[in-house]
């Protein structure tokens, strides 16, 4: 018999690695975080230590696990669990067979996915649909860049070449500044976390450079600063445009706001709601999409990406990859 077992998920970011332990019933029971070490060996070693850390918190060892899932910011081959290219992790040039190396180190099976995909799966797990409806959402990451992970009709949508959800590089202002991708006026330049820093640079407006730009901007707007209020509106309009783009492309039931800017919580959600309502006023068509009701915040206190990685690890067959029988010739 194949009883469900606990799994561990990791979200390996450029600076920190987040870990989550998922109980067999799907409950997130523990989380841990460690600093990320760059380079292939550093990534593998850090992943092993993060798994061990979250297991120690729960008094478990790897033998109790059904598998390990990993989300990585970069280009991943999920079929083989290989990281082809992850600049922020110092993995470029030589592909890193991360799933195989983790399986060897930990003695359990491992899967590797792109970080946005695990975040989308994590959001679907943490924000389940009522009445047994299948999950249907976009996880819109408002971070350094802007992109979405998609879970459509209950299944992860990677795209035929893995580019699904890369809406940050849809040009929205043909006369806009040149984007790193070579195009002009990409949505990322207006709706990402970096866009907030451009609107309200850290260390300006009398705030310490240690205060994150989104916090400084939204606090100034709350305090009644007219420039800040206008900047919040401009930013929220851009996020609202991303929401509209996702709904018009794939008609997801929910758009979950995540990434650094989403840590603002309710104030961000309110601003985006207000922007969507403004757009509705101008267009009966947009109003018919009922956009404001589709937008929600990623759950707080939980590493959503790590949770999604742990969810993906539940699909790993009981037999550990490390002792897979040799292929017959």
């Amino acid at each position: 018999m194949n009883l469900p077992r606990a799994t561990v998920g990791l979200d390996i970011g450029g600076t920190k690695t987040l870990a989550a332990l998922l109980a067999p019933d799907g409950l997130v029971v523990a989380q841990a975080r460690i600093a990320t070490t760059r380079g292939a060996d550093g990534v593998v070693d850090g992943a092993v230590r993060a798994v061990q850390g979250v297991l120690r918190q729960a008094g478990q060892d790897a033998a109790a696990l059904g598998g390990v899932g990993v989300g990585v910011p970069g280009i991943v081959d999920p079929a083989t669990g290989t990281v082809r290219h992850a600049v922020n992790l110092g993995v470029d040039g030589v592909p890193l067979p991360l799933a195989r190396r983790l399986a060897d180190e930990l003695g359990v099976g491992a899967v590797v996915e792109n970080d946005l995909n695990v975040a989308a799966v994590g959001a679907a797990h943490l924000l389940p649909e009522p009445d047994g409806r299948s999950d249907d959402l976009a996880f819109l990451a408002l971070g350094t860049g802007l992109a979405a992970g998609l879970v459509l009709d209950g299944a992860l949508r990677r795209g035929s070449t893995g580019a699904a959800g890369e809406i940050g590089h849809v040009p929205v202002h043909p006369d806009g500044p040149v984007c790193a991708c070579g195009q002009r006026g990409c949505l990322e330049l207006y709706a990402s976390g970096s866009a907030v820093e451009a609107l309200w640079p850290p260390g300006t407006h009398g705030r310490s450079p240690d205060v994150p730009a989104p916090v400084a901007l939204f606090e100034a707007a709350t305090a009644g600063d007219p420039a800040a209020t206008a900047a919040v509106q401009r930013y929220a309009d851009a996020v609202a445009a991303a929401v509209r783009m996702l709904v018009l492309s794939v008609d997801v039931r929910h758009v979950v706001l995540g990434g650094g800017v989403a840590q603002l919580g309710e104030p961000l959600l309110e601003a985006v709601h207000a922007a969507l309502v403004r757009q509705e006023a101008a267009s009966a068509f947009v109003a018919s999409l009922a956009l404001p009701g589709r937008v929600r915040l990623a759950p707080g206190h939980v590493p959503v990406g790590a949770v999604g990685a742990a969810v993906l690890a539940r699909a790993i067959p009981a037999r550990p990859a490390a002792v897979r029988p040799a292929e017959t010739a």
């Binding site: 332990l21 109980a23 409950l27 523990a30 841990a32 975080r33 850390g53 918190q57 729960a58 939980v302």
Partner: protein
């Protein structure tokens, strides 16, 4: 703060009643677990109820108060292993549903922050079981601890290390010097605090806890600020209370249905 003075066995039954009432009302409740001698009878009583009446911990979750830094994963005195033996394994609790701070983490500050996140993500602690040290510490929040502190690393006092040496072959040098502990601010966020104290040695700490001024010198006194704190004492631990007669009277006239 409610003070109950009774025999140690009666106290254990009262505390177990509170846990059982919570689990019946909310099967996925979050329990705060303490190690030490005081809660042992409570764990015995809960184990008995699990075995005899089927009291279920299957959906519940647990968070430990504290952990030594640096004790090997299989060390018998590691609090994680102690709590496993004293309660988790006896009530059919899936071990992964019970968490403790990671005293073996390479980055202890990160481990503490992650532990706070784990508690918050669970929705906070519903009922926290507590013991008290002779110097008034709860968790490993020794005298001088910030009353608003969060989970963090602390240095054990010489006194606490000597008190605990009996668990380490009588050798003080074998007792770890550091620990991770939920802070007083963390503990205060639990929705119900149930503190047990027995024996003459705790009498002064109990007097301070219940009747002294709120002070970092007696860290447990912060519990006076908690809206729902229950202090369960035997006669010896209550022996220095100035208003013991009043507490007895209050408890005796309390309606039966009210519970703790």
């Amino acid at each position: 703060m409610e003070v109950v003075i009774a025999t140690p066995q009666e106290l254990a039954v009262l505390a177990a009643d509170a846990v059982e009432a919570l689990l019946r009302r909310k099967p996925d409740a979050v329990l705060g677990l303490a190690t030490g001698s005081s809660p042992l009878r409570v764990y015995d009583e809960l184990a008995r109820r699990h075995a005899e009446t089927g009291l279920s911990f299957a959906q519940a979750r647990g968070f430990m108060l504290d952990e030594y830094v640096g004790l090997a994963a299989d060390h018998p005195e590691r609090y994680r292993n102690v709590i496993e033996k004293e309660i988790v394994s006896r009530v059919g609790w899936a071990p992964e549903r019970v968490q403790g701070p990671d005293g073996l983490a390479e980055d202890l500050a990160q481990a503490c922050a992650a532990y706070e996140e784990s508690i918050a993500a669970a929705g906070g602690v519903d009922l926290q079981i507590l013991g008290i040290g002779t110097d008034g510490h709860i968790g490993f929040n020794e005298p001088g601890s910030s009353l608003a502190s969060r989970t963090r690393i602390k240095t054990l006092t010489r006194q606490t290390r000597e008190d605990n040496a009996r668990f380490f072959g009588g050798e003080v040098d074998q007792v770890p010097r550091h620990c991770l502990t939920q802070g007083l601010g963390t503990i205060m966020e639990a929705r119900h605090l149930v503190l047990l104290a027995t024996g003459k040695g705790k009498a002064e700490a109990v007097h301070q806890l219940v009747e002294g001024p709120v002070s970092a010198m007696w860290p447990a006194t912060i519990m006076q600020m908690h809206p729902h704190a229950t202090v369960l004492l035997d006669e010896a631990a209550a022996s220095r209370l100035q208003l013991a007669g009043y507490y007895r009277q209050t408890y005796a006239s309390k309606p039966q249905w009210q519970g703790l």
